[in-house]
């Protein structure tokens, strides 16, 4: 019987929630949580479950990866699964980081599942197989089924088809491939060229991935003449959350007056807190300046290094938020900043 190892975060590895997101990596010679479902569906036995907190993997990546590779050195396995990570960004990044490292170190197939909005898809789809997944754990069974079906094909030595046929995100890897009708390349190229000349639709055989970068804004010449605004996706708001910004999948943002404040007072003083549901709020509630550094900006203002800290900061929640909504909110905030004659922005994310 072939053997599999499954990687899960602290939540799906049944350690706990955000409060233990710093959980150090561990390996167990048993099937924990979702690993049981993998075991049911696979033509292999899941012998070990690796569990690591998302924040540990996010902040101490090198250490986490090294530790886990160390665990796996003495484990005999044929295939590695990570996730599913759904729309959880940090979990998706973690699955990608460890998946890529395991693939490089042990050269076994690595398969994961993530929602299209998960940033892990863009970063790691070239390195490991990632299948499109649901938004949340409600899709656990479907998502695990997809990756194990594909895993079984690999384990059983079946012929693998291109990404769009198998259903995983395209990796941009080229394979030598013979067309069934054997039309040679020069004929296909001429056909394409004729279509292009005639203004007809044609499909390139070598799509170039689009990197959507924006033009780099010029450097600020004199900061001491500049008004700078703070913007955050860390969910810092006045304690009563007047704009009712959602704790996840936000569609709203708010602007909050900080004129005359030396720093952001905390939750205990009934002033500011975080409503972000994607990280442990304890530190940000105790001192919101760790997310929106009003105190440090005031100091630089006092020293004359910057002209002025803009009278408002802008806030929303960046967890589960779709790129489309984030772009819209970014546009709206940019409009406000223009109207207020702000020249530069520091954006903090959590």
């Amino acid at each position: 019987m072939k053997k599999a190892v499954v990687y899960l975060n602290q939540f799906f590895g049944q350690i706990g929630g955000e409060d233990v997101a710093d959980h150090a990596p561990e390996i167990r010679e048993e099937k924990v949580g979702a690993a049981m479902l993998y075991n049911q569906l696979l033509d292999a036995e899941v012998t070990h479950t690796v569990i690591c907190g998302d924040n540990f993997m996010g902040s101490r990546t090198e250490e986490a990866v090294e530790t886990i590779l160390g665990f796996l050195k003495d484990v005999d396995f044929d295939i590695f699964f990570a996730g599913p990570a759904f729309q959880a960004g940090r979990y998706g990044m973690a699955c990608g980081e460890i998946g890529k490292a395991v693939k490089e170190e042990f050269d076994v197939p690595v398969i994961s599942s993530m929602n299209i909005e998960n940033p892990g898809v863009e970063v790691f789809k070239k390195d490991i197989y990632i299948f499109p997944g649901g938004h949340s754990a409600a899709k656990m069974r479907d998502d695990v089924k997809k990756v194990t079906d594909f895993g079984n094909k690999i384990l059983n030595g079946e012929k693998l088809l291109p990404a769009e046929k198998e259903g995983y995100y395209q990796r941009g890897i080229r394979h030598q491939y013979f067309l069934e009708d054997e039309t040679p390349a020069y004929e296909r190229a001429i056909d394409m060229l004729l279509k292009k000349i005639n203004g007809e639709e044609f499909e390139s055989e070598l799509p170039i991935p689009e990197l959507d970068l924006v033009e780099i804004a010029p450097a600020i010449e004199d900061l001491s003449e500049t008004t700078i605004a703070l913007v955050t996706s860390g969910g810092i708001v006045p304690v009563e959350n007047p704009d009712k910004i959602q704790s996840a999948s936000a569609t709203r943002w708010g602007k909050y007056d900080i004129s005359g404040m030396d720093k952001l007072e905390n939750r205990d003083s009934d002033k500011f807190k975080t409503i972000h549901a994607g990280y442990d709020p304890a530190a940000a509630d105790a001192d919101p300046n760790v997310v929106v550094p009003v105190d440090a900006m005031r100091k630089y203002e006092e020293e004359g290094r910057i002209g002025k800290l803009h009278d408002y900061f802008y806030s929303t929640v960046g967890t589960g938020t779709t790129q489309k909504e984030a772009a819209r909110m970014g546009k709206e905030i940019a409009q406000e900043l223009q109207d207020a004659n702000v020249q530069a922005v520091i954006l903090t994310s959590t």
Binding site: E18, A21, N55, G58, S59, G89, R90, M93, P119, V123, D212, L213, V214, E215, I216, A217, P218, A219, I220, E221, L223, T226, I228, S233, Y279, D280, P281, A282, A283, A284, A286, D287, N289, V290, V291, P293, A296, M297, K299, Y300, T316, G318, A326, A327, G330, K331, I333, A334, Q335, L337, Q338, V342, Q343, A344, V345, I346, L347, T348, S349, T350
Partner: protein
């Protein structure tokens, strides 16, 4: 968000812990922070250390705003 703000013509720096994400999303000027739940001040350290760290990293972000770059850049935060 960072892209839309830059598209509108603002010089912007993103302070983030997950730099690979910021890069993929398309931020141009980036400054690393120390963690997700407390980007600019580790609560297990003293208030003074937290302040030092925050003041220093925001300073790096200000430097980033005044630096001309021709491609995406992660600014060095070594003290």
């Amino acid at each position: 968000m960072v892209k839309e703000i830059e598209k509108a013509g603002f010089t912007v720096v993103q302070m983030a812990n997950l730099i690979p994400v910021a890069k993929t999303v398309g931020a141009n000027r980036m400054v690393p922070t120390i963690s997700i739940p407390y980007p600019l001040g580790d609560p297990s350290t003293s208030k003074e250390e937290q302040w030092e760290l925050r003041y220093q990293r925001v300073g790096v972000a200000l430097d980033a705003l005044t630096t001309d770059i021709d491609e995406q850049k992660v600014f060095d935060v070594e003290m």
